[in-house]
Amino acid sequence: MNIIPLVLYFCAFVGYSLHFARRTPVSARLATTMLAAATLAHTFIIGMRTMQVGQVPVFDPTSAISMFVWLLAVAYLYTEVTTDERAMGVFILPLILALQAIPAFKAMPEVRSSVLQGPLFGIHVSSLLFAYASFALAFVIGITYVLLFKEIKTKHLGVFYARLPSLQVLDQMNQRAIVVGWVFLTIGLVAGFVFALEAHVPAMSIEDPKIFVALVSWVVYSFELFAARRIGWAGRKAAYLSAVGFAIVLLNFTAISYFLTSSHKF
């Protein structure tokens, strides 16, 4: 079922590429419509699975990724509608496609642990997923910032100069996405900690790679927020930091979830 949004996201990617090349009002409308359609289809599929299992499907890594992709698409659509900037779509959709490929080709388990439920677990997982989606957005905005920065700095005004919003706007968007992500990351981590204490889940300690890496990403983003405000690490350095932060998040979210952690799959 998850193959349908994947195909639609691909169509949206084609739409955004077309818009990036042509920049006409028609291509803009086409791209946004495609993405909205893909997100809608994805919403429907997640909704169906929720009905099927009786809870928002975030209790295994694969459906969590599907949920993450959906959140990312919604968050991106929100930024696009509020800022009317579409040039970033062509950067965000490859990420969406790559991640959506996992739930599209991997079966999801039908059974679930009896431990992993309750409001605290829900807050833990959904906060973290939302935080990760924000960080993904910040990462992509950071990439576009660096591309535009390089064009202006080296005086080769070209593709990105003509299409992207100003450096100031990109920097602001990046910072905003990181603030939102950081707040939800903090909530998610605290909720997870409290949940582990209450549910007496065994082997939940700092030695678990997943918890450790999550804390590392929290430190990175906290530093970025501090650095941007106190020591003037805005702009390009902030963009690089958001790339580092997201690389850690992605590692935690995919590789560690599937291969490394034994105790904390979900």
């Binding site: 535009l148 100003s166 450096l167 941007a228």
Partner: protein, 452 residues
């Protein structure tokens, strides 16, 4: 009727001659009224005058382009008191569709000195409204100008002919916008109180920056320039560092022989700024800012050559859009030509309709006599029916001929058809009686012999 254009532009005349025939100084409306009062060359009373610093063009709807042309030439010569022999070699005259094409290209910015410049469309609009104010614009010129506005609008929205800065000042403003978003609330510091710095600062000021500070070695110069810009402040040379730290955009335009701002100097200025970007525009030759300063993080350094390079690139990009803009001109010209052709046969179509209508009316009137014997309620009903049926009949009979006439593409063929129809239906004779025939309240039947 013909459309005639007589004009002079940057392509045919040097600046001193263009200045001498500038209509703006004495007012376009006055010129139009003066010309209209001369009743030139059997013209139909339709005149428009497009006057910008790069061109003066008279558009006229007339019956005899040749005599109208000499009339317009003598008007320009007497109005501006310039010898006709001096102007004539620089004048161009174009007629009919080619004149329309010329105006379309002008409105699109294709004929401008800087291709794609945006002001021209506004100037064309002003020319039209001046003609309307002077009451010299008629149906032909109104249609022509509205069509050229459509061309201008389409070129602006469908092509990139007007995109990208093509002057140093605009290039600098565009760059600043790409770095800072808007220029509102930004602080600009100008080093040097010379003309170049003043012009660039004025340009920035017009874009809504918060504050412009002029720094010069001589405080009096700085104060004078600040006053000339209006709303700017002057600062002493010793206070330069404080001004630089608080600024977002720095324009350097001093006459110094060696760089004033070194990399180390700017680095020290950047420290209290906490990573806020600094855009330095060095328009001085020789340069005022050490080139290495551009390596500093968050410093964007552009000199005059960099800006000129970006201007050249934009000009090249515009040149690539010309073909697309020309296609739009062709497209709109075809529409205008169609309207013009349809317009040529309209008198014939109208006359034909009037002739048919008069026949119908006469026959209906004749029927009135026969109907008079019927009871009142039946009579009214019968009259209404007859009226309706005959009306439909005439409409259907005229539908195909009207469409055929309007679709004739070649004006000569159209004229031949119009002539033939006029003869075959005797429209010439009927025309003289048109007024009495279409009178709506006629009840008496007419003698049948007057119809043909």
């Amino acid at each position: 009727m013909h459309l005639l254009l007589v004009g002079i532009s940057h392509k045919t005349a040097p600046i001193d001659l263009r200045e001498r025939v500038d209509f703006q100084a004495r007012g376009v409306e006055l010129a139009l009224r003066t010309l209209a009062a001369r009743k030139a060359g059997g013209h139909a009373g339709e005149l428009a005058l497009l006057s910008t610093c790069n061109r003066a063009e008279l558009y006229m709807a007339c019956d005899d382009p040749a005599s109208a042309k000499s009339e317009l030439t003598s008007f320009v010569s007497t109005f501006h008191d310039v010898d006709a022999a001096v102007i004539e070699p620089h004048l161009y005259d174009i007629t009919d569709l080619e004149a329309a094409r010329h105006l379309f290209r002008v409105a699109a910015g294709l004929d401008s000195l800087v291709v794609g410049e945006p002001q021209i469309l506004g100037q064309v609009k002003e020319a039209h409204s001046a003609a309307r104010q002077a009451e010299t614009a008629g149906p032909l010129l109104n249609r022509l100008f509205h069509a050229c506005f459509a061309v201008g609008k389409r070129v602006r929205t469908e092509t990139n002919l007007g995109s990208g800065a093509v002057s140093i000042g605009y290039a600098a403003v565009n760059l600043a916008k790409k770095i800072f978003g808007g220029l509102e609330g930004r602080n600009v510091v100008v080093l040097g109180a010379g003309e170049m710095g003043k012009l660039t600062a004025q340009h920035m000021k017009s874009q809504g920056v918060r504050q412009v500070t002029i720094v010069s070695r001589t405080m009096a110069h700085a104060a004078r320039t600040a006053e000339a810009i209006g709303g700017a402040t002057a600062a002493r040379w010793e206070d330069m560092d404080a001004a630089l730290s608080a600024s977002d955009i720095v324009i350097t335009a001093t006459g110094a022989a060696t760089p004033i701002l070194t990399k180390a100097h700017i680095e020290s200025v950047m420290r209290p700024r906490r990573g806020a970007p600094l855009f330095i525009i060095d328009i001085a030759v020789p340069r005022d800012v050490e080139a290495a300063a551009g390596e500093l993080e968050q410093v964007f350094l552009y000199n005059i050559d960099d800006l000129q390079a970006s201007v050249r690139e934009n000009l090249a990009r515009r040149a690539n859009e010309v073909a697309r803009a020309e296609a739009i001109v062709d497209d709109e010209l075809a529409k205008f030509a169609m309207w013009l052709r349809a317009r040529g046969v309209i008198p014939t179509v109208v006359a034909l309709r009037q002739s048919f209508e008069s026949i119908r009316r006469a026959e209906v009137d004749r029927l009135e006599f026969k109907l008079s014997g019927l009871p009142a309620e039946i009579r009214d009903d019968a009259r209404a029916r007859v009226d309706e049926i005959t009306h439909l009949l005439v409409e259907k009979l005229l539908l195909t001929p009207t469409e055929q006439l309007k679709s004739l593409s070649d004006p000569e063929t159209a004229a031949m058809y119009a002539e033939a129809i006029t003869r075959v239906f005797g429209l010439d004779e009927a025309e003289q009686k048109t007024d009495s025939r279409v009178e709506p309240f006629r009840v008496r039947p007419r003698p049948s012999g007057r119809q043909r």
